[in-house]
């Protein structure tokens, strides 16, 4: 049985906001199947109550002093924007007609 189906890949692509072509889905399904079968090895080793490690070092939240520091000017912040209007990022429609 394959580890992942083409339909699952299409679903994951939608979740990932990737408008993939049909041939990309076919190719990815085959490759991901092989990769997932290989990385499933972790399940053989990681059994029992071994605690997970998310990070190499023990992390604590770090705060800086509450002081105002120079930031980007509006022009700098908008310099790389695909579209700008009235000192704002201009974006495509984000809500439907009746929302």
């Amino acid at each position: 049985m394959s580890a992942i189906t083409r339909d699952e890949v299409a679903h994951l692509a939608r979740l990932s906001r990737l408008a993939l072509h049909e041939d990309e889905l076919d190719q990815l399904a085959a490759q991901l199947d092989e990769i997932i079968s290989a990385v499933a090895k972790v399940q053989e080793v990681a059994q029992g109550d071994i605690p997970p490690t998310s990070h190499a070092l023990p992390l604590t939240n770090v705060y800086r002093p509450d002081e105002s520091l120079p930031g980007l000017t509006p022009d700098q912040a908008l310099a790389g924007a695909p579209a700008v209007e009235d000192q704002r990022f201009r974006v495509p429609q984000i809500l439907g007609e009746d929302q």
Binding site: I4, A19, L32, E34, V42, A56, A81
Partner: protein, 500 residues
């Protein structure tokens, strides 16, 4: 000094001569820019080159020195900067179409510290897109070639950096190492490359791939030069919440000391044997014997969980990447495709990401999304995190009995361009020996240990040390380097086709 003489100097020597007034930063930058113009057509190490910007930096350094300032040992030394670090005065693309024309509004901490140290950024180097790959073939802007053999890969993801240094297009380069992306390209190009302890060098302004693993580090022609660059840009950064608030380990002192007498060295049993190229195994074995002859005490060490480290990495890194790359949404910066007034933001986002990301990046985003999705999370991402614990425990246990661990840096020498692009799993195997140190966050360095007899290509020796003991990797690396140079009658790098 002639231009060739300038190119032949180590970074340490060049810095000394600039400070002593025997040459200038402008002269050094000019020599390297001319060299780049000569060979870049063959190598394609750089994505962005701007002679005037580089020379302006060089003039500014000469003025600082003339005004009595001492920026440090690398003042006036040119550096090739990986195109994953933001630079205010040059584009930053991470070798992706989605950032093709992006000019960042700020400098990365590593960039700012390169400037503070008086180095001159010659240009930005090619890489695998978003640092995902082991060959630099995943660049959206064309592959880089290995100066030892232009039909071979220069390693990756920092392959532009390694090729630039090996072809004498720069004396030093920056890299980033998430699963081996500094050590592997250094190894296959006959260079020194170090992955500092995680958190030892700042990620601020480094375009994120896998945040719990990404580590900036140096690539150089010799161990001392790598140490000088390491020291110049490392150290605590309040802008990176994972930055370690501790002094930079004494890597320069260690590189100068270069002695291993009495040091306990562990050979990792799991990182060798089947699947390793015979010439790699042979050169590795010889370097172990060399270390013994220099007075090190060598023992074999077993780290059984390393067998599952590659699998864990290829779940953890894609998971983090799928989350990190969500920021490329076509709204605030970078590429935007299909915004015709009729399409929704979500449709524009999906079209842009499909157009802007290359195949490997898409593969990893999908894989990571899968590993993190409900129903699969425990089986994949959760299990991978448990393996990470086991890898850390294996290192901890090993370092109770030895000072450093050694292995080959890569299972094979540089493979032919195109050989593995159709087979992602075979490409991933290039990171087999380097990944454990990323998962555990400890220090590791690759130093050349000879040429494989069967193909004449460089082999790297990997030295791993506990977190914050980076200096040990430099100490051992420098000892191996010195002994090998004595045996060969000169540095290994001088034997490559693009050596000057």
């Amino acid at each position: 000094m002639s231009a060739t003489d300038l190119l032949r100097l180590s970074a340490a020597e060049l810095g000394e001569k600039v400070r002593a007034g025997e040459t200038t930063s402008v002269e050094a930058a000019g020599a390297y820019l001319d060299r780049i113009a000569e060979v870049e057509g063959d190598i394609h190490a750089y994505l962005h080159l701007d002679r005037e910007t580089a020379l302006a930096q060089a003039r500014a350094v000469d003025e600082r020195i003339a005004a009595g300032e001492d920026p440090g040992p690398l003042a006036g030394v040119p550096v090739a900067h990986k195109d994953v670090f933001t630079t205010e005065d040059m584009p930053t693309t991470a070798a992706s179409k989605i950032l093709a024309d992006w000019r960042p509004p700020y400098d990365a901490t590593v960039t700012a510290r390169l400037r503070r140290a008086g180095t001159v950024i010659l240009g930005k180097t090619n890489m695998d897109e978003f640092a995902m790959g082991s060959s630099t073939e995943n660049s959206a802007f064309g592959a880089t070639r290995n100066p030892w053999n232009p039909d071979r890969i220069p390693g990756g993801s920092s392959g532009g950096s390694s090729a630039a240094v090996a072809a004498f297009e720069a004396p030093l380069a920056t890299g980033t190492d998430t699963g081996g992306s500094i050590r592997q390209p250094a190894a296959v190009c006959g260079l020194v490359g170090a992955k500092p302890t995680y958190g030892g060098s700042s990620r601020y302004g480094l375009i994120a791939f896998a945040s719990s693993l990404d580590t900036p580090g140096p690539i150089a022609r010799n161990v001392l030069d790598a140490a000088l660059l390491h020291e110049a840009f490392s150290g605590h950064d309040p802008r990176d919440s994972t930055s370690v608030d501790a002094p930079v380990p004494p890597v320069v002192e260690a590189a100068r000391r270069a002695d291993v007498a009495g040091l306990r060295v562990g050979v990792v049993r799991e990182l060798g044997g089947e699947g390793y190229q015979p010439g790699v195994q042979q050169r590795f074995q010889e370097s172990v014997e060399l270390l013994e002859s220099l007075g090190a005490k060598v023992v074999e060490v077993s780290c059984p969980s390393f067998d599952a480290a590659l699998a864990a990495y290829y779940l953890i890194a894609p998971s983090e990447c799928s989350s990190n790359l969500a920021r490329f949404d076509a709204m605030r910066y970078g590429l935007r495709v299909g915004d015709d007034g009729g399409r929704s933001a979500e449709e524009v986002m999906s079209l842009t990401r499909a157009e802007g990301f290359g195949p490997e990046v898409k593969r990893r985003i999908i894989l990571g999304t899968y590993a993190l999705s409900s129903g699969y999370y425990d089986a994949y991402y959760g299990s991978a995190q448990q393996v990470r614990t086991l890898v850390k425990r294996d290192f901890d246990a090993a370092f109770e009995n030895v000072d450093v661990l050694v292995s080959p840096t890569t299972p094979t020498t540089a493979f032919p361009i195109g050989e593995r692009t159709g087979d992602p799993m075979s490409m991933y195997l290039a990171d087999l020996c380097t990944i454990p140190s990323n998962l555990a966050g400890n220090a590791a360095l690759s130093v050349p240990c000879g040429l494989a007899p069967e193909d004449g290509l460089p082999v790297g020796l990997q030295i791993m040390a506990p977190a914050l003991a980076d200096d040990r990797t430099y100490r051992v690396g420098a000892a191996v380097e010195a002994a090998l140079a004595e045996r060969r009658g000169g540095p290994l790098l001088s034997e490559n086709a693009y050596a000057v």
